[in-house]
C-alpha cells in the first residue's frame, strides 16, 4: 500500500526487505512461496542494463572496457578504506549482476574452527543445518556442479544441473593435478549447463564476470522480474532507507524513514511488521549505526557493541605455471577446476585451510613487439614469433586462504564524507585476528610450496607468483552483524534475528562469523534462506 501525504510517501507492508541483491532475491522468492504476507523490497538504486541490452553492453565492455552496467551506483553513497571486496554498485540486483557465478559451498570445518582447531569461533549452526538451504539456493539459481569425492564434498542431494564440462584444456590440467596427488572437479557455477528456468544454455562467451549476454548465468534481476510480474512483491527503487525507528520500551522496529535518491530527494516512510536488512556487509550494519536514538545511543541491535565489527574475508596466493603439454587458451577461460582437499585438512600443527582452483591461461603466450634479441617484430615476423610462443601450456592456480577476523576489523562512520542527506559514509579497515596475523607469512609460503610441488610434478616451472595486496582489504567479505547465541558477543541469533529487536532480521553476509576460503555468494544466499525460513514459520 502507498499513502501519499503532502510531502512524504508512506509505504506499508507486512515484510520490508532493505536491499535487492542476491540474498534479498532468494529470500523474497522463498517468502512469496511460504507466506501470504505482503512483501515490500526497497532499493536505493535504479534498474540497470536490461537483459535485452546485455549483448550490446558486452560488446562495448570487450571492445573498450566500458562498464556494461548503466546507472549502477548512487553518486554520493560509497565506502572508503580497505574496499577490495566491496563494489560501489547499488542497483536492482546488487553485486550479483556482475558476479562470476562461481558457487562453491563452504566446507563443514568452516562452521567449527574453534572446536576443531582451537582458534576463531564456531558458527551457531553446522554445515548439515545449512545443507537444505544450500540446496534451495542452488535450485533457485540453477547451479551446475559435479559431485566431488564424498569425503571432501558432502551434500544431501545432487546438484540441480549437470556440471559445466571439463573441456579439452581442463582435461589435461586435471590429469596433471591427479599426478600431483590433488583431486579436482568441475567448479560449481550458477550457469546453465542445460537450459533451465526459462534461461538459455551457457555459450562460454567468457564474460561471465562482468556480464553474461545469453542469460545462462543467474543474476537476481531474473528473480525480481518474475516476482514483480506475478505481483508477489512490491519493488520500490531509488529509495534510500536512512533510519530505522525502534520503540524505546519494546525494541520493536516501528517504521523506517529515508529519502528518494532521485533529484527530488523527497522523504519516504515505510511501515512494516517485520524488517529485514539484506543490504550486504557494509550497508546493513551502516543502517543500524545510523539509527541512533536516545533509547539506543550506539545504534540499533548494538548492545554488544559489535555492529560494524568482525569484518571477515580471505586472501589469496596466485601463480602461473608453465607446463609441458599443449593447451589452447580461450576454450573457456572463466571455467575452472576446483579442489576442496585443502579445506578439510584434518588435525594439523599450524592452522591453514585453503581452496584450490586451476584455470587455463594465456599468460606468456601473447604476441610481443620485440624478439629476444630486442629487434622489432612486425607483420609475419610477429605472427611467426607468436605462433612459437603460443605452443605449450600455461596454467593459473590460486588458493584462497582463511583469515580469521579481529574484533576491531571494522568500519567507522566518517563524518568527513557524507551523502547529500548528511549521513556519514563508512570507512572500512580490515584487521586480522592475532592468530591469523602470526600465521600469514607461513601460510602464504605453504601455498607457494604447494604450487612449486605441483609444477615439479608436471615437469613444469613457475612463471610467476603473487599475493593479495596488503592494503586493499579482503575478498568475499562478510561480518558486521555477526551471529551467535550470546547477545553480548553477537548481534543476531543463529537465524538472523536481532537479539535486541524481535521484528528485525539481518540476512546473509553480514551475519557470518567468518568468510571461509572460497567464493562466498552461495553461502550468503543460503544463510539468507535460513533466515527467510525462520521468518516464514514465525
Amino acid at each position: 500500500m502507498i499513502i501519499q501525504d503532502t510531502n512524504t510517501t508512506v509505504h506499508e507492508a507486512d515484510i520490508c526487505i532493505v536491499g535487492s541483491g542476491i540474498t534479498a532475491a532468494m529470500m523474497a522468492a522463498h517468502l512469496a512461496e511460504h507466506t501470504t504476507q505482503s512483501i515490500l523490497v526497497v532499493e536505493a538504486g535504479k534498474h540497470t542494463t536490461p537483459f535485452a541490452q546485455r549483448a550490446q553492453a558486452r560488446e562495448r565492455y570487450v571492445g573498450y572496457g566500458e562498464s556494461p552496467w548503466k546507472s549502477d551506483h548512487v553518486d554520493d553513497q560509497n565506502a572508503y578504506g580497505n574496499t577490495w571486496g566491496f563494489s560501489p554498485s547499488m542497483h536492482v540486483g546488487g553485486l550479483a549482476m556482475h558476479w562470476g557465478g562461481v558457487s562453491p559451498r563452504y566446507s563443514p570445518e568452516d562452521f567449527r574452527v574453534k572446536s576443531l582447531y582451537g582458534i576463531g569461533d564456531d558458527w551457531p549452526f553446522t554445515y548439515d543445518d545449512l545443507d537444505p538451504f544450500y540446496q534451495e539456493a542452488e535450485e533457485r539459481m540453477g547451479v551446475a556442479g559435479e559431485q566431488g569425492p564424498a569425503a571432501l564434498d558432502p551434500r544431501g542431494k545432487p546438484y540441480p544441473l549437470p556440471p559445466l564440462p571439463i573441456n579439452h584444456n581442463l582435461k589435461q590440467l586435471q590429469q596433471w593435478a591427479t599426478n600431483a596427488g590433488i583431486a579436482t572437479w568441475s567448479t560449481p557455477s550458477a550457469k546453465n549447463s542445460t537450459p533451465y528456468a526459462g534461461r538459455a544454455q551457457c555459450q562460454r562467451c567468457d564474460t561471465c564476470y562482468p556480464v553474461c549476454p545469453s542469460g545462462a548465468k543467474y543474476s537476481p534481476d531474473f528473480t525480481w522480474d518474475a516476482l514483480v510480474r506475478d505481483k508477489k512483491i512490491t519493488l520500490v527503487t531509488e529509495t534510500l532507507v536512512r533510519r530505522l525507528e525502534a520503540d524505546a520500551k519494546t525494541g520493536r522496529i516501528t517504521h523506517a524513514t529515508g529519502n528518494r535518491t532521485d533529484a527530488s530527494g523527497a522523504p519516504v516512510e515505510i511501515r512494516a511488521k517485520t524488517f529485514v536488512l539484506a543490504a550486504g556487509f557494509v550497508w546493513s550494519p551502516h543502517l543500524l549505526l545510523l539509527s541512533r536514538s536516545s533509547a539506543f545511543p550506539d545504534g540499533l541491535a548494538n548492545r554488544s557493541g559489535l555492529v560494524g565489527k568482525y569484518l571477515a574475508g580471505h586472501r589469496n596466493v596466485n601463480a602461473y605455471l608453465e607446463l609441458p603439454m599443449e593447451l589452447l587458451p580461450g576454450i573457456n577461460v572463466q571455467h575452472s577446476l576446483v579442489s576442496k582437499q585443502f579445506m578439510r585438512p584434518g588435525k594439523q600443527s599450524r592452522y591453514l585451510r585453503h581452496d584450490l582452483r586451476i584455470w587455463e591461461s594465456s599468460v606468456g603466450r601473447e604476441p610481443r613487439l620485440r624478439g629476444t634479441d630486442g629487434k622489432l617484430l612486425l607483420g609475419d615476423a610477429l605472427l611467426k614469433d607468436w605462433q612459437q610462443r603460443a605452443k605449450g601450456a600455461t596454467a593459473r592456480v590460486r588458493g584462497y586462504y582463511d583469515v580469521l577476523p579481529d574484533r576491531e576489523s571494522k568500519f567507522t562512520l566518517d563524518s568527513g564524507r557524507t551523502n547529500r542527506f548528511g549521513d556519514p559514509m563508512p570507512q572500512v579497515a580490515f584487521r586480522d585476528a592475532s592468530e591469523s596475523a602470526a600465521l600469514r607469512e607461513w601460510q602464504e609460503e605453504e601455498l607457494r610450496t604447494l604450487f612449486r610441488r605441483m609444477a615439479k610434478a608436471g615437469g613444469g616451472s613457475i612463471l610467476r607468483m603473487e599475493n593479495s595486496s596488503n592494503d586493499l582489504g579482503q575478498e568475499h567479505p562478510t561480518g558486521g552483524c555477526r551471529m551467535g547465541t550470546d547477545p553480548l558477543t553477537s548481534v543476531v541469533d543463529a537465524r538472523g534475528r536481532a537479539h535486541d529487536h524481535e521484528n528485525l532480521w539481518v540476512a546473509g553476509a553480514p551475519t557470518q562469523p567468518t568468510a571461509s576460503c572460497c567464493n562466498g555468494t552461495l553461502t550468503f544466499a543460503a544463510v539468507g534462506l535460513r533466515t527467510a525460513s525462520a521468518i516464514a514459520t514465525g
Partner: protein, 220 residues
Amino acid sequence: MTTRNDGPSARRQFLKTAGVLAVGTAAVGSAACDVKEPAQVDESSVARLLGFDRTLLDALAITVLPASLGAAGVRAATDRFVAWADGYDPVAEEMHGYGYSDVRYLPADPSPAWRAQLEALDALSRKTQRVPFGRGTAEQRTAVLEAALRTESGERLPSPLAARHIALALLAHWSASSDAWNLALGAQVSPGTCRKLDEALRAPLPLAPAGASAKPEATT
C-alpha cells in the same frame, strides 16, 4: 579521409553502420552475442573528429600486420580498427566490479594523437627516406617505424586503448581479435566469442587451409 561529426543524429547514423564492428574481437557467431542494433553511447558527448588518413593508415597496416592475412584480410582488419576507434566513447565509466570503490572513467579520445602520429610517420619518412610514407618500400616503412617506436619495449603488446602509438594500437587491436588468436594457435579456438558448450569437450578443429573459410559454424 577524416570527417567531422557534429551532431547526435550523425553520430547515431554512424553507429548504425559501425556498431557491429566496434569491438576488439571478431564478429561473433551466436544469437546471444549478435548485435542487431548499434551500441548506445552518450549522445551529449562533444563532437569528435572521426577516421584517419586512409592512405597513410593503409601503408601502416601493410607494414605492421602480417602479409599472410592477404590484402583483403589486412584491409578488413584496418576497417575494424577504424570502426573501433571511431566508436570509442571518451570518459565512459569503466567497469568497477571489485578492487576499488571509486568510480573510474576511460581516458580521453586517443585518436587525435594517433592521427598526429600518422602524419609524423609521413614527415619522418620524407626526412629520413626522402619518400612519402605511403610510397615507401617495405624496408623504408619499417625503418621509419623502428625510429618511431625506438622507446617502446616489447614484452607484450599493450591493450589497444593504452597504445601510445597508432602502430601499436593497430597491431594490438588486430592481435586481440579471435581470428588472430586462431592463427597463432593454429586452431579454431575463437576466444572471446560465444560458442556451443558441448564443443568445448573436444580439441578445436585445425584451421582450414588457406583460401577456405576458417570460421567455425555459427551457433543458433
